[in-house]
């Protein structure tokens, strides 16, 4: 019930009853709205009858109920939101991410004039007529040279191509929007996979300890020693040699990246579980004789979730960077299925780098926005969710 509602009802009753003190009245009203009677059923009383029936003494007894109810608290969700929105940076980050998602998923629905793989063939064909003369100056014939272009490549931004076209005459804006889908989707998938592996292995290591912990942590140590990029380059070549469609190569690579980079999350989860295991409520769960599964999944994992969410958000940014770097190195999707990294790859050409900012600039800016946005939101979430940071 809303507080002002209480006040309104109280005002209405001010005229009805006189002589009864203010607190007693408020109290009677509250207990009248919701009492717990002897038959163990919730009863909703009519306010008028309650007020006349209840004695002042009863009301006094319930006074602390009243006091408790006039105080409003924040629900756990509200507290998290309040702390999150206290920082301006996290709001900026949130806006950036929401804008990017709208751009990538809603954009192609609205901007339908070009498909991302569609080549603009509207280029005007122009001919230059050069008369070929003999020694006396008579025109023998005209040499016809095709000087225009058949597909509209390297178009400058104009009304039909707001960001121009690339060297194959594909619309940059359309490619940017669809490329974002690929980049974001791949990073989300790999982050979820990393988290899954991390929770399973970290949870096992933290909960059981001993030999299991030792084995898993040593595997983590080995994984942390592996140099990421050189191995990915080798795997990229292997994937190509295996004759797998180049369109899917980036998925294989990111999958492999997932396999070698869950160790950070696993360490985080293990550390959290080790400290949570010492908490008295876990000892209480042990004393209650709960099964191991219940203890891990009902009591431990939900309490690791906040840290996990923060970790996930922060690693989204780095996954986007990984994807972009791989694509830039030419290990990403082939050109026609653009991802942001692939689009920047075209800046390898000095001509494009110098003269066509409209081709490589926008995907670069998108990557910066995405990484910054995820990092801002991650930092904001950490402040909001981590009770140790509570101010």
């Amino acid at each position: 019930m809303q507080n002002n509602e209480i006040l309104e009802r109280e005002d209405a009753m001010n005229t009805e009853i006189e002589g009864q003190d203010r607190i007693g009245r408020r109290c009677a009203m509250l207990s009248g709205i919701h009492t717990y009677d002897g038959n163990k059923k919730y009863v909703l009383h009519n306010k008028g009858t309650v007020l006349t029936a209840r004695k002042e003494a009863d009301a006094e007894k319930d006074a602390d109920v009243l006091h408790e109810n006039t105080i409003k608290l924040m629900s756990p969700m509200q507290m998290v939101l309040r702390r999150f929105f206290r920082s301006k940076l996290s709001i900026v980050g949130l806006v950036m991410i929401v804008a990017l998602f709208l751009f990538c998923w809603l954009g192609p629905v609205i901007y339908t004039s070009w498909d991302s793989t569609e080549v603009d063939n509207s280029g005007k064909v122009e001919y230059t007529y050069t008369p070929v003369k003999d020694s006396e100056g008579n025109i023998l014939f005209y040499q016809v040279v095709e000087t225009g272009k058949t597909n509209n490549f390297f178009a400058k931004p104009d009304s039909s191509h707001p960001m121009g076209t690339d060297k194959n005459g594909r619309d940059v804006l359309a490619r940017l929007m669809v490329g974002g889908r690929i980049s974001l989707a791949i990073s989300f998938l790999s982050v979820f996979a990393i988290t899954l592996f991390g929770v399973i292995f970290g949870g096992l290591a933290g909960y059981f300890g001993g030999a299991i912990d030792n084995i898993i942590m040593r595997i983590c140590d080995i994984l942390m020693c592996l140099p990421g990029f050189p191995i990915l380059l080798i795997v990229g070549t292997l994937v190509e040699a295996a004759g797998i469609d180049l369109q899917y190569r980036i998925y294989y690579l990111m999958g492999f990246l997932t396999l070698i980079s869950w160790s950070g999350t696993a360490r985080l989860v293990r550390g959290q579980i080790l400290s949570l295991r010492e908490q008295e409520y876990m000892v209480a769960a042990e004393a209650m004789g709960y099964s191991t599964g219940r203890k891990i999944f009902k009591h431990l994992v939900p309490n690791v979730m906040p840290q996990l969410i923060v970790q996930m958000t922060l690693s989204l940014g780095s996954m986007i960077l990984y994807e972009a770097s791989l694509s830039y190195l030419g290990l990403g999707a082939p050109e026609e299925f653009a991802a942001w990294g692939t689009m920047i790859n075209s800046a390898n050409d000095v001509n494009i780098l110098q003269n066509y900012f409209n081709i490589w600039g926008p995907p670069g800016i998108c990557i910066i926005i995405a990484v910054l946005g995820f990092n801002f939101v991650g930092d904001g979430l950490r402040d909001a969710l981590d009770p140790k940071m509570r101010r």
Partner: protein
Amino acid sequence: MAEKHYLTGKEIRKIAKANKKAMMALEKEKWKKKPESEFTAQMKDDKNILEIDNLNTYFFTDQGVVKAVNGVSFNIPLHATVGIVGESGCGKSVTSMSVMRLLQGPQGQIASGSIRFKSSDFKRDEKGNPIPTGTHNLDGTPKYYMEEKVYDIAKMPMNEIHRIRGRQISMIFQEPMTSLNPVFTIGNQLDEVTFIHQPGATKESAKAKSLEMLNLVGIAAPERVYNSYPHELSGGMRQRVMISMALACNPRLIIADEPTTALDVTIQAQILELLRDLKDKMDGSIMLITHDLGVIAEMADYVVVMYAGRVIEMGTVREIFHNPMHPYTVGLQKSKPTMQSDTDTLFNIPGNVPNPINMPKHCFFKERCDKCIKKCSGEYPGMIKVSDTHFVACHLYDEEEQNG
């Protein structure tokens, strides 16, 4: 039903907006540079060393303003021990933090009131340097002219507070485990205090002073402790070191915030013995904050009982223990099981300490009080004088109630 006790988004935004405005104003005031005349004051009674007058300290939280200290007034006479007793959340620690100006900003702020402190500081020239007399102390450090001044700590800007904090008012904390820096030796930390607050101190004089202090607090091997790190010492030893640190500058006031709560009973007995011993030796007053009535009875000369941010009763220790007036003080004494009592059920005060946000207008103890009268639903009771030293805030002792 389930959600109704939660704030709505609109209310949360409203609170946040109001908090921000109030906090900014107070925070700005706190750091503003002022001429000295604005924060000097006059003591009401010259026998007091500290006078707290209508102090209000608020915490601006997301759920509303917590009036942690709500119009508290009491005095600390010279050479006396004043015990402040109350349960957690009653504002006793916040009062001491306000005196030290250690409140966590920007949420915690002194909203109004004054804390007058009679300080004895070095006389300073225009540049702010102390003026030497030309003579020397026994250990070779120069002597300086001193002067007595009364400062209003509540109005003092933060950049002037070092004149008082540490040198003239020092503090002993509850947690001896965490209040020493683990990476420096005890000697290092003790010497530092002398260096900061004693102009002209040399390495040797500081060490001599530190060893003397360690000796004073009953540490048998001061040299060994001087060279050890905090983790090498036990809790009781660390608390002794903390006490020696607090004493190092001959402060006029020591604030002991639950000095024995974290210690074992037998160690607590040692520390209490030590404090009682020091009380006679030192030239200053002690403000002892505790929830343990037994500790208060053994240590204090005057007692201030606090409840929900207000002083509800104060008097000499005998008045409070032999003639408690306020129902809360009575209940508190009855509900503590003692070695002497032999009852079957303990007396208990029903209910809980009220939530500090949105306190009612009437007496805060009304909901838990067993002697509640009709008048209790009215205004908050004022302080009623029982004797020259004994005051109580309860409607039961209003003049008309007594007569009628």
